[in-house]
Amino acid sequence: MTARSPHTAPFHLGIALDGAGWHPAAWREPDARPGELFDLAYWVDLVQIAEAAGIDLVTFEDAFGLQSAGFGGVDSRRDEVRGRLDALLLATAIAPHTTRIGLVPTVTTTHTEPFHVGTATATLDYVSEGWGGWRVQVSGRAHEAAHVGRRSFPALDPAAVVAGTDPAQTALIEQLFGEAADTVEVARRLWDSWEHDAVIRDVPTGRFLDRDKVHYIDFAGDTFTVKGPSITPRPPQGQPVVFALAHQKVPYELATASADIVGITPRDDAHLARILEQLADAAATVIRTASEPLRVWSEAVILIEDSPDQARAALARLDAAHGGTYTSDTVILADTAANVAAQLLAWHDAGLDGVRLRPARLPADLVRITTEVVPALAAAGVLDRPADADTLRARLGLGLPENRYAGTTPAHLDLIGSAR
């Protein structure tokens, strides 16, 4: 946890974008645009709304397979949004349309190539000119493993995973998150594998590159090895921002070791206190490889109307349209803008660094957040930002990271340990 002064540290805001919003019936709302979910213009519009309001970053949900209502295989529902664009490519295509908002796509680590993940996230950082990030996610679903066909996983039981009561489930989770930690480590090494001044264009010697400033990463983990260096020079931020959503011990450890921001899902104050204890435990047991203290953000689904009754009614109406009560892994705040702002301020007072808001309906709740919640937080004085922030890291108060390889020679590289 960051050593912080709760009442003066700025509070950061992220918006989690997914489909037509997080409520499964949101696509049927009057202002929803469900026929445009695969068009770039729809997403650019949403991100520009967030950017104009001074939101720090937007995330894009993704997975290694089609959405389904539960943790099992693909279902046959026809009444929910199905289909997604690749989040990394979507974020990169949005980047030329924005100038000062973080773009944080979800990229799965389980079946993807760590080398491609490293160059793709670096390229997002180039195209956005320093506003790139990465939401790390694992894929434990058996049907998603069948998309590649070289591994098979037992069916995941979310309850047993969270409770940690089933050794087989826990082992799978440890394996998936170990691989995720390795992938983050590979990406971080690849991002550092070119020193920022490796390109020299030295005409007298005919050298474009100073090869002593480009480094093999020589990563060897349990499931893969990567030689390096990257084909992509060091990205503008040096280290793009890594975000990890976490609900239990193993992912808390991944986030504590590797992420810049961890998203947590407190149901209430007592739950929040327990999560913070678990994060403190994780900090005592893992070696942190990211350059700055871990930032802790809360998560909430947001639905805003003019009165609490109207908000509850709107949620009930959505639930009725969907034929069931919407449940989430995190708290659902269906309320007024003032009450939502009050909850966020309470999290700020509790020492959290920010919040990732999941609009129940797009664009409706995004608009409510930007026009009503953000001004309330600004009035409370918690949204001060560095005036000269020209990268996402700077905006979040994360410093310029040192390059792990700067000043080293290849002989020293074996001293640099793995994340695990």
């Binding site: 026809r78 295509a93 264009r201």
Partner: protein, 458 residues
């Protein structure tokens, strides 16, 4: 090649003029991209360079822009090669960025069928096709060696003999994935509450020698349905694969006679595959140097060649054939007297190797150098900086047109010699000449997909 301004386009009325198709190759990570010149100091990696390059090519109404790929930094004598421009973005990601700053031009990326998986890559290409409104293309490469494998999960898993088998199976699976959603799968009907139509998504269940892929893809059919398939293989296997699968061939055969021979061979294979002659476009790679006069163009060609082949580059190039350190030789002196050292893997890794016998190449080069009095650097310029089209804009346009009308090609992949402005002059000066001859579009068709722009069947 020698150009003459009086090489006429055919005037026969037996068939209409063929239209020229052009692709713009982003300057390569090799010696042909000049960096030793302060006017060409733009970053090879900044997005502003890609944006300029793409928007210039779109101004010139090019069919598509083309990005090469190399999944590991090249090495020479066991060290990272440091003489050429080096460093490139992730191909798919930068194409997504370029999609946002262009409207019409095709976006073709080189992507490996070896170090990718069909489910993921098919999805990424479909995403790019959605994001670009139907402008995505995939140049399939089959690099398989252990050197590149060291950056990937499975390492050197693929036998060289299986690389086209894998590529062909890869494309077959990708096509199933691209076709799995019904054309009208997404209803998004707020009134009825049906987001998907009935039976909207078919399952893919493929089991073959290379892949086991079972499941549902995550995207509706993209504007093109399937991205355009580009291929550059030149071997018998490569040509066979292309005649079955490719819609564009990026060839090396930019010479006229050589081009005609290749064109006739590959086009001749199509009928047996049940394909129409026009369903495959053949575009050789070509470099160019322009001048107000032919003499000025030749002078500029020589100047550019000297920038492309530095003294150090000349020696490194020779070392690729000799297989040993030649650092003690004078680049302005004669070729080495010693014979090449035979090595298993060569001194240079991460680029296409010379397949032929090094001793024979060396003998040939020595004979040539002695006959014409060439220094090491002169000789290397002959091979590594041999510009395809050197002449006035009129000469270059007429030569391009002649190649197309007389079936030596359907157009060219044009490679500039600097980044990112290397094609600006081509667009300013050669494109209008082609347009004036009625063989090149003066604008894109509104809303055209890449396949439409290329004149390929849907």
């Amino acid at each position: 090649m020698t150009l003459t301004s009086d090489a006429p386009a055919p005037t026969s009325t037996e068939r209409p003029l063929k239209q020229v198709h052009l692709a713009a190759h982003f300057p390569g990570v090799n010696n042909t991209t000049v960096w030793r010149d302060n006017s060409n100091a733009a970053s090879q990696i900044a997005f502003s360079s890609f944006k300029h390059f793409a928007q210039n090519a779109e101004r010139g109404k090019f069919d598509f822009l083309f990005l090469a790929e190399g999944l590991r930094l090249r090495e020479h004598k066991g060290l990272i090669h440091d003489l050429d421009v080096v460093g490139r973005p992730n191909t798919l990601a930068v194409l997504a960025g370029i999609a946002a700053v262009t409207r019409h031009i095709g976006l073709v990326g080189t992507l490996s069928s070896t170090f990718n998986e069909p489910y993921e890559l098919a999805r990424q290409l479909a995403s790019l096709d959605h994001l670009s409104g139907g402008r995505a293309g995939w140049n399939i490469v089959t690099t398989f060696d252990a050197f590149h494998g060291e950056n990937f999960r499975r390492g050197a898993f693929l036998d060289g003999g299986d690389r086209y088998t894998r590529a062909e199976e890869f494309v077959a699976v990708a096509r199933q994935l691209w076709d799995a959603w019904a054309a009208d799968a997404v209803l998004a009907d707020k009134a009825t509450g049906e987001f998907l139509a009935e039976d909207a998504i078919g399952v893919v269940d493929h089991h073959g020698a290379q892949f086991d892929v079972t499941g549902f893809p995550t995207l509706p059919q993209s504007p093109q349905g399937r991205p355009v398939i580009v291929q550059a293989g030149d071997s018998a296997d490569g040509r066979g694969f292309a005649s079955r699968t490719a819609e564009v061939i990026f060839s090396r055969h930019s010479g006229f006679d050589d081009g005609q021979k290749f064109y006739t061979d590959v086009k001749g294979r199509l009928a047996a595959e049940g394909r129409h002659r026009d369903s495959l476009k053949i575009l050789p790679a070509a470099t160019f140097i322009l001048g107000d006069t032919e003499a000025e163009a030749r002078e500029r060609s020589r100047e550019t060649a000297l920038l492309q082949v530095s003294p150090q580059t000349a020696i490194a190039f020779l070392e690729q054939v000799w297989g040993t350190d030649l650092g003690g030789y004078d680049p302005d002196g004669p070729l080495p007297e010693i014979d090449p050292v035979s090595t298993d893997q060569g001194v240079t890794r991460g680029r296409v190797r010379h397949d032929s016998d090094p001793a024979a190449i060396a003998r040939g080069w020595r004979t040539l150098a002695e006959a014409e009095g060439l220094s090491i650097r002169d000789l290397v310029i002959r091979f590594a900086a041999n510009h395809t089209f050197v002449g006035t804009p009129v000469q270059v346009a007429e030569t391009i047109n002649r190649h197309v009308q007389e079936d030596a090609s359907d157009g060219f992949v044009i490679v500039g010699s600097s980044n990112p402005t290397g094609l600006d002059e081509f667009v300013d000066r050669v494109i209008p000449e082609l347009q004036e001859r009625g063989v090149y579009r003066t604008d894109y068709d509104q809303g055209a997909t890449l396949r439409h722009t290329l004149g390929l069947p849907d």
